[in-house]
Symmetry: C5
Amino acid sequence: MPRVIVDCAIYQDGCRAEGPADFSDALDQARAAGDSFLWIGLHEPTEKEFALVTSEFGLHPLAVEDALTAHQRPKLEVYDDSLFLVLKPVRYEEKAGTVTAGELMVFVGDSFVVTVRHGEANPLSTVRERLEDTPEVLAHGPTAVMYAVADAVVDHYLDVADALHEDLDELETEVFAPDGSGGQNTAGRIYAFKREVLEFRRATGPLAEPMTRLAGAGVPFVHEGSRPFFRDVHDHLTRVNEHVEGLDRLLSDILSAHLAQMGVRQNDDMRKISAWAAMAAVPTLIAGIYGMNFRHMWELRQPWGYPAVVGLMAGVIALLYRMFKRRGWL
Amino acid sequence: MPRVIVDCAIYQDGCRAEGPADFSDALDQARAAGDSFLWIGLHEPTEKEFALVTSEFGLHPLAVEDALTAHQRPKLEVYDDSLFLVLKPVRYEEKAGTVTAGELMVFVGDSFVVTVRHGEANPLSTVRERLEDTPEVLAHGPTAVMYAVADAVVDHYLDVADALHEDLDELETEVFAPDGSGGQNTAGRIYAFKREVLEFRRATGPLAEPMTRLAGAGVPFVHEGSRPFFRDVHDHLTRVNEHVEGLDRLLSDILSAHLAQMGVRQNDDMRKISAWAAMAAVPTLIAGIYGMNFRHMWELRQPWGYPAVVGLMAGVIALLYRMFKRRGWL
Amino acid sequence: MPRVIVDCAIYQDGCRAEGPADFSDALDQARAAGDSFLWIGLHEPTEKEFALVTSEFGLHPLAVEDALTAHQRPKLEVYDDSLFLVLKPVRYEEKAGTVTAGELMVFVGDSFVVTVRHGEANPLSTVRERLEDTPEVLAHGPTAVMYAVADAVVDHYLDVADALHEDLDELETEVFAPDGSGGQNTAGRIYAFKREVLEFRRATGPLAEPMTRLAGAGVPFVHEGSRPFFRDVHDHLTRVNEHVEGLDRLLSDILSAHLAQMGVRQNDDMRKISAWAAMAAVPTLIAGIYGMNFRHMWELRQPWGYPAVVGLMAGVIALLYRMFKRRGWL
Amino acid sequence: MPRVIVDCAIYQDGCRAEGPADFSDALDQARAAGDSFLWIGLHEPTEKEFALVTSEFGLHPLAVEDALTAHQRPKLEVYDDSLFLVLKPVRYEEKAGTVTAGELMVFVGDSFVVTVRHGEANPLSTVRERLEDTPEVLAHGPTAVMYAVADAVVDHYLDVADALHEDLDELETEVFAPDGSGGQNTAGRIYAFKREVLEFRRATGPLAEPMTRLAGAGVPFVHEGSRPFFRDVHDHLTRVNEHVEGLDRLLSDILSAHLAQMGVRQNDDMRKISAWAAMAAVPTLIAGIYGMNFRHMWELRQPWGYPAVVGLMAGVIALLYRMFKRRGWL
Amino acid sequence: MPRVIVDCAIYQDGCRAEGPADFSDALDQARAAGDSFLWIGLHEPTEKEFALVTSEFGLHPLAVEDALTAHQRPKLEVYDDSLFLVLKPVRYEEKAGTVTAGELMVFVGDSFVVTVRHGEANPLSTVRERLEDTPEVLAHGPTAVMYAVADAVVDHYLDVADALHEDLDELETEVFAPDGSGGQNTAGRIYAFKREVLEFRRATGPLAEPMTRLAGAGVPFVHEGSRPFFRDVHDHLTRVNEHVEGLDRLLSDILSAHLAQMGVRQNDDMRKISAWAAMAAVPTLIAGIYGMNFRHMWELRQPWGYPAVVGLMAGVIALLYRMFKRRGWL
């Protein structure tokens, strides 16, 4: 068996059963048993490696093509003899504040599940463990695996949405800081945040439609008992989507608020600057007057002239200062 | 009976009836009577405390999971043998202007109602009292309780929407105050307001769909006579949602208007500042001219030179002042 | 009969017929005649005053509750034995530019119409007169009254929409005035206008759905012949709604345009101010140079020095003026 | 026959046939022939003039009311014995850049077409000529006329949309001109443009629904063979509507871009102004220093003092000029 | 055969077969064989050249009219005996950053495909080659060609979307460059980008509906086995459309962010300028004071007076510099 196959097991009546090492034999055995199914997990298989699986399970060539190349969008395809679900699990980089989306494909047939994983962050093994602990869910057959995978992916979305929300709180604190230390790159940061949110949305948004379909009647291979579970996943997904949309709108609002604040701050600064300028201009004018070279300027000859004028200057400055202070310009 | 059970009573023909203290017996009795039902009210039960109720009433494990953890979104789940409604009652903090959402879950089966409450602000007891006063409504069975709870929650939404609207009126007065005392943090306040509105929307928005479904045919356990009542709740909810959406748009508009006003104010300030600067600059230039050290400056030697030039300065200032005043720069 | 009953009459074959003063007897008579109906008009009845009507006509308690309290949103409720329509007629205050919404409820049963009016501006009497002039419409029975009332309300919407449009034209003239006399409170005025439009929308928007339903099949008590009439009202209402939405968008656009214009104006002012400042600064520098106390400044001793420098200053000012004029800064 | 009747003819098997001068006789003849129809064209008829037509063809009073008053919105009304289509042909004033909408109503019955025209710009005669040249289309009966009129109106929409697009190109050139000669009223022009686009939209937008209905099954009086033709008109209309919506969005974008450009331009101007101010301020300060009256200023007494200081001033100016130039402030 | 026919071949059982040179005979042969079809490729045919094809294949006159004139929007028309699909392949000019849309029409009948191409960039020959390499797809008959063409066009959309995204990355780097070298025309560039995106959207957006229809049941002439292939194309198209919509929103956001950054930069510049102005104004005032001509100014006569005042000036400048530096104004 190639190294690309991460795990391969037969599940019977909700329990892991020992089966043949070769998955071709295993599939035959699962089919023969009737109430059991085979689960194969693959990690970034090449076309060649995947060919074996493809022919054995009779997967549709278009789905196989999608499963081999990453950069798909979340979707559910219903073929004659299999379901094909594409999920985009995301990873949130706390420090950089970036959201990266991987890919996770699930093929479901009458007695098999094939999961294909692209990228790092897809803890399928924990899904497998958790499933093996709840045989009553696993008894729903292959769709139990599909449900469990979708549930794990969407639950992680909730965590990421919460983390993004905390980032928003930080951003708010920075933008609305009273000392205005927000600085030059605030707009750039808000924009970068919006891009991450968009990236996140691309993973979560299109998943709503597949989940709705899986929760309703009319999709083959889906065990009737697992519909409420898909409805539950859909419900969590809706929460994520509302959350993310809220984030996006708040970011637009925060950018507008930042713009308005810039206007206020600029006006405040302009007033402050002008007030100081006025306090320099008036004494300069007075000094200019007494710098004129008229022969007949009586004050110039008085001993008290100079101190009086300097006093006048100081008085004018003090007066202006008080006036601007009272008007809130300083 | 654990302390987490707030109240437990049997209702027969719209009236509270005495029943066994143990709710397991009570349920049996209610079922036997046929036209009566049991209502149990719980407050933040732990998983263990809730387990007893769960098994007795045959609640769906997914609904139970939701009922134990807060942070759900409003929704209606229809299971085979029960309905599950999640409501988010809100509390409005007058002073801080904050909206906090609690959680209220209602399970309805063929002859029981279980209400689970998270957070403080959920006056279920007044609902119970009011219901016990209107036996003709209570006669609709378990859905009467569901209706009454939804009605109380939505009616409080209307109050909160009104309170938010008053806050908007205050904000308007502040933003459009003629003296522009709005100050630095107006944008921050508008943004904070928008966040509260979003919080509120998260409680009220998703409830529309469950109410529509309860008002229509096709949901089991709902007494036909209570449909107009749910339609009434839905109608009130629509008013809340329109109100809240209007608030949100007005807040965006007020932010834009604030931005435009900042621009106007800045321009006005710039003109005022420039006018004063001009009134200082021209006399300074005149003073500079008569401060030049040319030997042949006839005016400098005249006795009337100094007063004439000071008069000229004053005249220029007066002239400029009048001109700027007329143009509205001052 | 209480004073709250404005008018009460029996209509038979499209004509007003004399009937008993007591409306209870009148209803019996109308029911007996088969092709006639009773129309009662009430004005802000109290709960007590309305109780008599309620019990006589068998109105639904929820509708009665709505009819007694104002602040409803436009809607159509279909009960087992009556229709309940809420309309919000508006009044436009020309001077203040404010839109105020009243309330008008219509109950329609198999042989009666009850109209309840809240607020001042509801010319039901003209509706009654006009109806009595067109017996072929009145012959459609109770729904003819419902149609006539809706028609009158919606036609007045059209007038109000036109009046608001004229206000917009005025606002445009003001905002885009070449002398920029728009002034400080333009943003505030646009915002206030938007609020009025929102108020108007709250009255007109939700009415679309009831009108669609009344124009289609499936609503009981509606005479088939009156459906085209309701479709006509719906059509007018759509015009109002498109008009109002257009107004709202234009107001947003005008605010943006105002913002951009403020930017342009500020830049123009800044350039103008700077040009004048430059024209003062250069001569001041020249004056400063000849104010220096160097012993060896040959020009200072020449008789032509002073006039030459003053001429230089004037020349510089003229040169700068021409340059700024050509560049459009002045 | 009143002068208001522009043309009146019988069409048989796709060809214009001679018929009685009186349209009442003509209608009878057309009805008798079975495969022919009567087409009457009216221009702004008064109520009285229209009354004759109304009664003869049995038109619905509501449609007649609409046909007499202008200011309708595009719509299709289906009555028991006739169709009523309202179109809003537009005229584009190249110079003023204004869009004016006229009105064109078409009544279609089993063997007649009545066209009513309000306003100037409705070249119905060319429609008639073109139709008479394509008998295979005319053979579809009355709906061929309806199709031909709608086709002509919508094709003209395409021309107007193109003309508006050229206006947008001009506006773009102006707004993004490198010398920024856009000037003060750019925002006003963009706004005026948006208003015209809105006016245009009011004519084209609501027409989509009638065309969809005419292209589908279920509308009486529509010849099955003419459905693809209506689908074609609908397709052209969709192009117009997408075009117009694109225009509207681009205008919003251009306004935002204009706003941003204003900001950039203002900053550039401010830097330029400040650079020149700095180049005046430093020499002024130097002049001020050597204008001080200290007795012991050694430089003042040197013969080279004055030229040295003037040289220093020139040097400072040159230095600052180069520095600002390198930083892009000048 | 006219030169406008690019290629003409018969395909039987998924393989290219030799057939008569005259396409009229070829069509007869294809029809006779039953499981084969004729594919004719045309390049910008004139009306006359196309007339032959039209009559032979019985194409609908409206479709023919559309096929001859360019400037169509993507659409699918279903006629009685043929399908007509309009596609808009785009070409992306790397250097200029412009998107140009061509036109590609596909007629599909029971045993023929006619492709008509307008503009340069439509590599139909590679489509033909690729198809001839996959006989299992070609065996689906005429719709295989339709699928292959749509697939090639949409796959190229994906490439163009990626190229546009790289352009966005460049733009971001430019706008958020720390030295703010973005320059004057950033807003213009963003706007131009938005226009290209809109142009792109016009090609990709309306194609969604035809693809949905081709992927579903109910469209004649479509081989059932090719539906998953159309679903695949539709899925890729959805990715393109989501991508493009994301681009459009990011461009709006980047414009807003640019605007906010302009505000910040302007404020920073203003502070810097003001700080330098203050550092010039205070020494100027001091110089002015000692330039006054009072007889009794004791300092003026001291030998240390001049150096002390110059030192004072330098000290004031140093003090102000440090203060502004600490406050982040410099």
